[in-house]
Assembly symmetry: D2
Homo-oligomer: 417 residues x 4
């Protein structure tokens, strides 16, 4: 409680805006990947009270990260709470398993009420012991800090630890801010991983004007931008705004995988098709573009595992969404949170009226199928499309004919799916 | 899946904007209060599959509410999911206790992924039976639908049922939308309650321009507006914007109860003091105002129970906040969600430059205390304030001297608390 | 850590065996009811660190209960852990809401691992405030101590607080012992309640020989004992043992409400019928008996609320069950935990071979129904019973004909339902 | 609902009593390990409604396991409920991820109330996708079926899947029985694992007389039996019973790792020392014994990972415990559940009075340490032991001197730690 004069706004860095690193990523020891992340996110002061299960992370501690050793876990969280709120940046906390997290719960409650952005990590016994209730081991470790965390996780695999910490940071920093928790089994440190790319996140719930400006610059400078449109577009009534943006950019527009709403009018010349929910297929479809703008969808919803080359490669990925969870989970790119029906027009007004690029070639469409015995589904659907009255309602119960439906029965109006 | 033409935007009503009813509220039977709420929120179609525990709500069903009876609970939720997303309004679902909610969980998962705004209610055995595991009774009823709901509650008292449903509706409609759950013990219906006021909520995460316009009109027309400033103001770096708004309005500014940040520079002529966390005290402090604008704080944080006359009385209450939970929990008034550092300047530019009202009289301050044996705390604090260097740091550990500190050691700079 | 000599076994009181009070219960102030419970269960030393929300319980503290004030919540739980394990009795802990429970969580983890029987209570803000997130209020209060408690509850009504504490004590004392948690809204203290009867519970998972002896004495001395048989009997293969016990006692045997297994062969002369799941109906059916022995069922499963006179009246209630939860929830009587197929024969061998009482009069059975147009269900069922081959399988999907089925289609063999 | 005659007791197999396989275990494909487990536990009928995430388990389905395909998940659980209760054995259920489990929740509630022993498994998306919310992926998968399961887990590693299913089976079969849930990421099937040994579990909460008989035979026939004594012994007042058993067996007695109570009088000739919480150390200490009887402790509590040779090797492991969780988690051996103060005397009376084996050589003890400057802790402690009055209380706060304390300050009386 002080009587000091106005200082320069401490929030200027609250949305880290460093541009994502594009260099090819090489495997790193996991503790090294986490330390890089601490540096990239500005969490260079660590508050903690560690024990045996945290030692693998603490060996060879580097000089440029400060470790503030608290005498008890409650103090570690209390100091981190104040530090985070005064600095405007998330603070990193390093606790001991189970009992250590327990001691901290009182001050974690307070930090949650204070909306202090904390990334709280705690050791956990080795995965190889967890089925047999080891000494100091936590049962269902992600449960203990609830309900006084915004997010709590024990990662599904050791290799996910750095990505989990990165995600915790992004969730902690979204407004209203608050603590997140990551439980880390001791043997998760004992290997390398592919470090997660450093992402940027404009975390105000209103689209950040400066971030929109940078996105407009990037779009204006891109050679071959592409748009992926998701369910939030129709959900927020922003469909016409998206069409207008696409037309100004002369960019093709794909529908996001498994979009439960209309992504784009399927008879529009810019409509490029439906992305499949497979990493390789998405990478192939978007491979030739240098800027990928995902609007109102996760980056990306997959149904099968695999490698998605565009996520660590050359293309810049930008992400407009109202869904904070989707922004936090995106594995790459810069997310700008906030209402699409505000962000899309604001973005368009920042773009030059006459785009220098030529519109994409129209999508090849399947020829209308011919009738046959028995009737092919594609023929039925294409006839249906021809004779449907405006506003007719069709109930779909035929997932195995989804591709034929996409091909021959286009959905053309907002609210039409 | 249809080929119909563009229809008028179905989202025009998504933020109900009917002005709050100001008429004195009279006790209503609880089921009647809930039905009024269904009408006020547009949830006039109910999807359900009820059983014995839901009967008290269903008796004397009115003609203007449609009850769509599903053959199984999964169908009820599936229909409601589609209805909600096509209509752009929340749908109301009425399920049977425990097993009924269980049957619905598969489609509730889908509705959650679809971000469909649902208010799912389920009966529960009578409170008088719950300690003894009755037939059909749910154990920890609010737990079952997790984690596929945005909010889940069994109200603390029967009289809270209508307010809980109202809160569930407000949370379901905030973006990203999704299902909420309310468990209702059968004997909770058997009495009257004070119906919750019908509130409005602009639920986009970006401040709704139309709602800001209406707030500006209300502020321009108010005789004696007052501002209550909470922790989000400093948290978002919007302090100077709030000062500018206060000065344009010539309105006194209070700090919200238990504000953990600076609410307003305490040496500013418009600073009116610190609200206590007691309903009667808040009502007394704000009683003479016809418009109360709460910025960046809950409406209100109380520490003791009591009656807060201003919440159902004559004053219009407006609420700007980034915290969706606070917007949903506010018992009265119209909430506009979104970043304060965007909303406050946008609001100010909509206000006339020359306010017609005179500034409030300066707040009476306590005289500097005199020294004595032993030293009074107030004297120590006032001397401290006089000699503190700019930027000095003071750690406070004396809650019992908080009033003296407020009186004699003002915090004057943003980032200063 | 001491080197003292063997002292007398401290476990002799571990199963409180005071006979249940039978005197009519009169309403008591709730804090008085809880203090009586502390005395009856031997929890006369209280460890705590209270705050404002606990004050209603602490006013007018009596001389015969010792309150050990800890400087922090962790110490309160730590002391209680040691005290409970050394004394062999549960210890009572009294914490402050939310943050207080949080501070205690580290030592609560340890107490859980130590299997220390603790009844941990914490204040909570008043119910009238809970919908609006008051200062110090816990969100979903019963969640915080999980997963390191055996049971956690915020009672559904204020009047249930003493019963909830009694239930927590019974669960804490069952083996393996451990902490239980009860969250108590501050306004729950402000009224009277009907105090829960003081119950006895032999909490070893093996039927306690001494308790079985006392039950045998009570049965031998009873004038009109009655047996209620539940699903555990068939589940554990103890059906023949129950028949033998019933025959030795010459006592009528009812099936427990909603028994999902065969309770007793329905053609046996001692079979008395199926109890309905309604408090008044159960009381009426068992009213003339002076000893009610419930075997393998809850006491009792009800479907509707109401008053069950036998629960606070003259009849002694004894309860044999393998289900610790059912033993803890029983509102009255003495429960003996452990395998029925061990307890039932052990009990029979303790009973005199020649019972002094006469067998009950055979149950009146409905006359076989006559055929009619249309066929009455009862006629169909009685014909079905007559012509069913041995071992035939019948799938029932007609709950509305359950009474007719009970009347005309008796289930006679174990494994037959 | 049938009228068939008494058939032979269907519960005869309820405690599988096949002796544990001792043959060296070789790695198996995980789905093969699970199928072996289904055969060993009698869960040879599988009820399910699978989808894509379950396919890796279903390929090359063997002829001796029956898969009953249900049309919807609710039916799968309903059939399994009836099958399990009629057969007296656990039934295995195979559901689809997230939405599939959701559809089943209504009948899972019923199965939980029916105390039907079910092992419910569900697919989950691949671990490599889980950080990014894939299509069909469950969030916090183990949460969904709560609170209507006895146990719910997503294993910490893919290699733990067979052991998790084995543990779920053991918990489901303990009384009161009920459903358990295991979530299995699709990529967990794609490797081999060391199959868990097939264990036996006498799951009545009262020590099974037949199992005690077999244990007595094994003890009488063993050459070098050893006892490990845990905290439940003192906790249940069974210390003298354990001393009497040890003396009749002439077997050395170790204290279990991290025992928070007295394990055995430390001045007794049979006392062998304190086991360390390390797998290799435990294996070394017990290596020369052919029968290991663990009484009132987990098998075993470890603090560090490693290989414990005795768990898959030649020694027979028997386990007496009151703690069902410890019985289910034990990685090897046969567990007999129930009160130690009943089981220990019952076991002793089944043993021959004159054991054929000679008592173990007395443990070498450290010589009393000499005084020095500064005073060694061991000297202080040995003097303390010499001068402590009977019944003196010593509070320990020196974990780093625990070995010296064990060496020089023996705890000799029950209730003394």
């Amino acid at each position: 409680m002080v009587g000091r004069t106005e200082r320069e706004p401490h929030h200027s860095e609250r949305s880290p805006r460093r541009s994502p690193r594009r260099s090819p990523r090489r495997p790193l020891h996991r503790s090294e990947a986490v330390r890089d992340l601490l540096r990239a996110t500005g969490m260079t002061t660590v508050f903690g009270n560690p024990g045996s299960t945290e030692l693998p992370f603490l060996g060879h501690w580097p000089d440029d990260l400060r470790y503030v050793l608290a005498l008890q876990e409650a103090s570690a969280v209390g100091m981190a709470d104040g530090f985070a709120r005064v600095s405007g940046r998330a603070a990193f906390v390093n606790l001991h398993a189970a009992a250590g997290v327990g001691h901290a719960m009182g001050n974690l409650f307070t930090a949650f009420r204070n909306q202090a952005p904390l990334v709280v990590t705690a050791g956990q016994q080795s995965r190889s012991l967890l089925m047999h209730q080891p000494f100091l081991g936590a049962d269902d470790a992600a449960q203990l800090p609830k309900p006084y965390v915004k997010w709590s996780v024990e990662p599904p695999r050791g290799t996910d630890v750095p990505a989990a910490i990165a995600q915790a940071h992004r969730i902690a920093m979204q407004r209203p801010r608050g603590p997140c928790f990551v439980s880390i089994p001791a043997d998760d440190w004992a290997a390398e991983c592919e470090p997660p790319p450093h992402r940027a996140l404009a975390a105000d719930t209103t689209p950040d004007p400066a971030a929109l400006g940078r996105l407009a610059d990037a779009l204006a400078g891109a050679e071959h931008p592409v748009i992926v449109s998701g369910p939030e577009v129709e959900e927020e009534g922003a469909g016409p705004d998206l069409v207008a943006l696409g037309e100004r950019l002369r960019a093709p527009v794909w529908t996001s995988p498994f979009n439960p709403r209309l992504g784009f009018p399927e008879d529009h010349p810019l409509f490029a098709g439906h992305l499949a929910a497979a990493p390789e297929a998405v990478a192939a479809a978007l491979a030739r573009h240098d800027l990928i703008l995902v609007v109102g969808a996760p980056v990306f919803t997959f149904h099968v595992p695999g490698a998605c080359a565009i996520l660590d490669g050359g293309a810049a990925i930008w992400h407009l969404t109202t869904d904070g969870g989707a922004a936090a989970r995106a594995p790459a790119g810069e997310s700008i949170l906030g209402a699409l029906r505000v962000a899309l027009p604001a973005l368009r007004t920042r773009l030059p009226e006459e785009p220098h690029r030529r519109p994409p070639a129209p999508r090849a469409r399947e020829a209308p199928p011919a009738a046959a015995e028995p009737l092919p589904a594609s023929f039925v659907l294409s006839r249906l499309a021809a004779v449907m009255p405006q506003g007719g309602v069709l109930v779909e119960e035929a997932p195995s004919h989804r591709p034929a439906m996409h091909a021959h029965l286009p959905v053309t109006g907002w609210g039409g799916f």
